[in-house]
């Protein structure tokens, strides 16, 4: 028997108030070990206050070949942005 340790993706919250961000990946036999390894590998310089790990194979990613149909339709929806609306300068706090 020789099974590799699975790959985990590591997300770290650098301080409270901020979101967890993907920082990289590592190998571990299970999630407990992955947290420990992530602490040792990715927070050696006080980079974080909280760690998430998830096994890489559990992530479903969008297909880059469909990037056009998935993302481009948002491009012409300018009315979702505040600058789309014309208001006179005199009107404040809006």
């Amino acid at each position: 028997m020789s099974k590799n340790w699975p790959l985990f993706e590591v997300f770290i919250r650098s301080k409270n108030g901020l979101e967890h961000r993907h920082v990289g990946s590592l190998h571990a036999a299970d999630a407990t070990m992955a947290i420990e390894n992530a602490r040792d590998v990715y927070t050696r310089r006080m980079e974080g206050v909280s760690i998430w790990v998830v096994e890489s194979e559990n992530i479903t990613a969008s297909n880059p070949e469909q990037a056009g149909e998935i993302f481009e339709p948002a491009a012409d929806k300018v009315y979702r942005h505040p600058t789309f609306y014309d208001l006179p300068d005199e009107v404040k706090h809006i």
Partner: protein, 318 residues
């Protein structure tokens, strides 16, 4: 796909890189791009973990506690950097075990500099100063390379490496300001590490086979010779500050070029070490293989334990 379709795709791909876009793991990429990146990034990863060994030899013998923690932290960083780079390579569809297999069988290369012996404490200073100094020039360039995971790993690595070269130079400075014995130790280290450091930039541009393709993919932004020249230019004044002499009788400032001229590298030595006949090639590979083989039962046991626990949890849930 027809040949024409592939050529179209490749042109679009190159256009993306030319526009400064990054390529991400799931994007379409030419097979050659994938293979080249597996080779280059894993070679870089291997260099990090083989590079732990020569310096690691000195951890138990550091002359002070302050130097001890600095060196330990530095060598540990190299393990971390190896890990980031292996992970980046894995996004290209190859496992870490396969990469280790390539290293252990001698199929994959790593930086030849680590095949030289580290025989005095001053060597630790010289490595930090010269070897890390040379490496960082490549690495800074690579933070803007086209392959996303590689570029991101390099950003992290460069951030962390910033103390490595300073650590080395500080050791040299302390020796240079020390006793006669210490100064001699420093000069001796410079004598032995200077030329191998220049060799780290690889063969001359004329002899380099990959340069053109690498430039296109932004794995390289400057040629070997350009980087080597830049390294000499920045290192000579640092050596002068230490009061040490660079072991090259042809080294002199060229007013016209605004750069230093320097002597010819012993390319026979370069190729000899690359091909496996350096002073420590065998030891380094043996140490890596041995750690891997001795660790097998540990890795296997951790997997078995994880499986056992997962089954238990499942049972409890039913």
């Amino acid at each position: 796909m027809s040949e024409k379709e592939i050529i179209d795709l490749e042109e679009q791909f190159q256009a993306r890189i030319d526009r400064g876009e990054n390529i991400e793991p799931k994007d379409w990429m030419p097979e050659k791009y994938r293979k080249t990146h597996i080779r280059q990034i894993s070679q870089h990863a291997h260099s990090e973990i083989v590079g732990m060994l020569p310096e690691g030899n000195w951890i138990t013998r550091t002359p002070s506690l302050r130097r001890k923690v600095a060196l330990l932290a530095k060598v540990q960083d190299e393990a971390g950097h190896g890990l980031y780079l292996y992970s980046a390579t894995e996004t290209l569809g190859i496992s870490r075990d396969e990469l280790f297999e390539q290293l252990h069988s001698g199929k994959a290369k790593y930086s030849s500099i680590f095949n030289y012996p580290v025989i005095t404490w001053a060597d630790i200073g010289a490595i930090g100063w010269l070897v890390d100094g040379a490496a960082i020039m490549n690495q800074v360039m690579l933070t803007r390379t086209s392959y996303g995971p590689y570029a991101r790993a390099m950003v992290r690595i460069c951030k962390e490496e910033s103390f490595h070269q300073r650590q080395g130079y500080e050791i040299m400075l302390t020796l240079a300001q020390g006793t006669k014995v210490q100064k001699e130790m420093a000069q001796d280290a410079l004598n032995r590490w200077w030329w191998p450091s220049l060799m780290m930039f690889g063969p001359t541009d004329e002899a380099s086979t990959h340069t053109e393709q690498s430039m296109k993919w932004k794995i390289k932004r400057k040629t070997n010779d350009e980087l080597r020249q830049q390294f000499v230019n920045q290192t000579v004044p640092q050596a002068e500050f230490l009061g040490l002499t660079i072991p090259d009788k042809d080294l002199k400032w060229n007013e016209e070029r605004g750069q230093y001229d320097f002597g010819e590298i012993d390319w026979d030595e370069f190729w000899r070490v690359v091909k496996g006949h350096g002073p420590c090639n065998k030891e380094r590979l043996h140490a890596r293989k041995s750690a891997y083989e001795k660790g097998k039962w540990v890795r296997d046991a951790a997997v078995a334990y994880a499986d056992k626990k997962a089954k238990q949890t499942l049972k409890e849930a039913v």
